[in-house]
Symmetry: C3
Subunit: 269 residues, 3 copies
């Protein structure tokens, strides 16, 4: 059973997503086509990469993921197909592949399947869908084009750490306005572990990792590791980002504090 | 063929819905997964219940409905699976089950399927999806956990009536801004029947039940029974709620009027 | 495999789309149901026609397209089923069929399948879904009702042309704010061909047809033929319509210019 996902900046109000689905169904009437989201802000590869990085691994291996943004093929931004972690990704390489992948992909080829027509503004329908169909029908990735060695490297903001703590940033704000950082559970455990700490964001402080949002009272600040194993900062049942005045890329510091007697300094939260 | 629906407050712009779908497709690649909506306002169980109450019965019996909001499990809000009207509902009991069901459910169990990981912030993916898969594969509801007797009762605003008429309220405003009341066709027929009446909402009056929106001129006020058998108040092809200044929970009175000669008092609409 | 698409003004936040899908799945549990969009502005047949005209032909022949807006049946606006270009369209005839079809449909019948209940406000669920199921199960279109000869003709704004050039208009603004005109590639080639021209929109001028958005620098004006073969005007990676102050129905002139020596008059873009 072919599983093909779509991630794009087409929005939900035009015919673009339906056109791609129709084209796939022409060849694969029983394909399972799943919208990841079409509400990526126009051209925002960084956000698309975040979404796809967190979504793809939930799907079965062998799924094909079409990336429908910034799809214009140029000499600098070739159309690629990558096999990574058992999944196929099809898109134009504007750096997005480097943002999705945490390690080297298993294989990358330049897409050489011909465009269906002489129009180049809708590659997702006229070329990527074709490649997705071929992969779903059992084509090897090598059948789609020549092996390609170098992906464009887009810098994702990685947290830095030393013996005093971790310096990270807000990389995503979700629909609840939970603020997701780039600090992974692994990094946190390596640097902080179970020692006392202070997390600082703007002028707010959090001293404890919660297990769930409801660990604190309604409207109160908490930190927890989300379902993607990234540290997030939230208000229980309230819109953290706007209430705390936090924006994307704001910095977050987690610092080790010397243990001291209870009561020396009252927690702010 | 497994049919699984999703209702949530995740919005359409993040990876949450796709993650749940992917997880289901891993086990059930030919499952039919239907989004009811992901645009419930955050944490709004009342609205989610309205949507689900009106949607579920259109699906075949045996369908599984995942409720993806307020999903954190606590002692007070356990994860439940309910069999009601031949359909399965999976969610945390914050009272939403009592708002969806109009009579006693056939069976309710506490969900004892283990969470997939030690993160508790995404139960829809890490626990509810698993239960939905098991039910779709033929598990009995009893296989998912111990029978549970008491649902949290959330009060839904029921209309009151006497010999003079019915006092109800606006419980939903739809995308056309039609204003849906909690007055059912049955209650209306019992109390008002075909006798002359005045429906009052704010300072507007309606004296007739229409069969369709186009019974009145464009922009004019009308009352009709919607496809969910609830009395609704609308403007033909116009945004009733904002034009009339009506909000959720505004009251609606339907009063019997003594029949009188035509012309004694001119209708306002 | 039955393929049924839905186009409507129901929005994404209520139960309407799910209800139609559930009803179809009751009879056809393995139907492929594709949302084209539910975000047509309320009652906007012109926009729905644009979307459907550009979407339908991507689907396999034999697909059934339900039109879920302005669905109330009246004597003037009967419920019809049309076979056009190998596809089935079901809706109320408020003129939308004439806007979707570029030539005479193969066959049109008045829908005589009875409504499922005495409520007439949700024909998409209570009648159109039934017709879609019958067609998907192999019913002939003639089995659904009597042949119907005349479609309501809604005037779509067609471009005019003479030896000097083409006068068209903006008929659609897409989610990127690309401005799509009603000037087809064929008309452009017939009138302008490869001769020098000036396209005028508001006080902006474009003198070249680009192959892709990235033919020009970021934020610069360009003209190209979109994936629907219509001439569109865009800014590369910027919101053309709002930045240029262009609205739907604004006029666009393409005029032939006498060829002259380079440099006589500097291009504005």
């Amino acid at each position: 059973m072919a599983i093909i996902t779509l991630t794009s900046d087409w929005g939900d109000s035009d015919y673009y997503a339906a056109a791609v689905k129709g084209r796939i169904l022409q060849e694969l009437p029983d394909a399972v086509i799943v919208d990841i989201t079409h509400r990526i802000p126009p051209f925002d590869s960084t956000r698309a990469a975040y979404i796809l990085r967190n979504a793809y691994h939930n799907f079965p291996e062998g799924s094909v993921h079409i990336i429908g943004l910034n799809t214009e093929e140029t000499l600098e931004n070739p159309h690629l197909v990558a096999l990574y972690d058992g999944h196929y990704f099809i898109g134009a390489d504007d750096g997005i592949f480097s943002l999705i992948f945490e390690k080297e992909p298993e294989k990358v080829v330049i897409l050489e399947v011909p465009q269906e027509n002489e129009l180049y503004s809708f590659s997702s329908r006229d070329r990527f869908a074709k490649a997705a169909i071929m992969l779903s029908q059992g084509s090897s990735i090598e059948a789609l084009g020549e092996v390609h060695d170098s992906l464009i490297q887009k810098i994702s903001f990685e947290p830095t750490s030393n013996k005093q703590g971790i310096r990270g940033m807000i990389t995503h704000i979700d629909p609840y306005e939970n603020m997701i950082t780039n600090i992974s559970k692994k990094l946190f455990n390596d640097v902080i572990g179970s020692k006392p700490f202070e997390l600082n964001i703007k002028r707010y402080i959090c001293r404890k990792i919660s297990d769930s949002y409801s660990d604190v009272g309604e409207g109160e600040l908490l930190c927890l590791f989300g379902s993607n194993n990234l540290l997030q900062i939230a208000l229980n049942r309230a819109n953290a980002a706007s209430l705390l005045g936090v924006s994307l890329k704001d910095s977050v510091h987690v610092v080790l504090v010397p243990s001291k007697k209870e009561g020396d300094r009252p927690p702010l939260f």
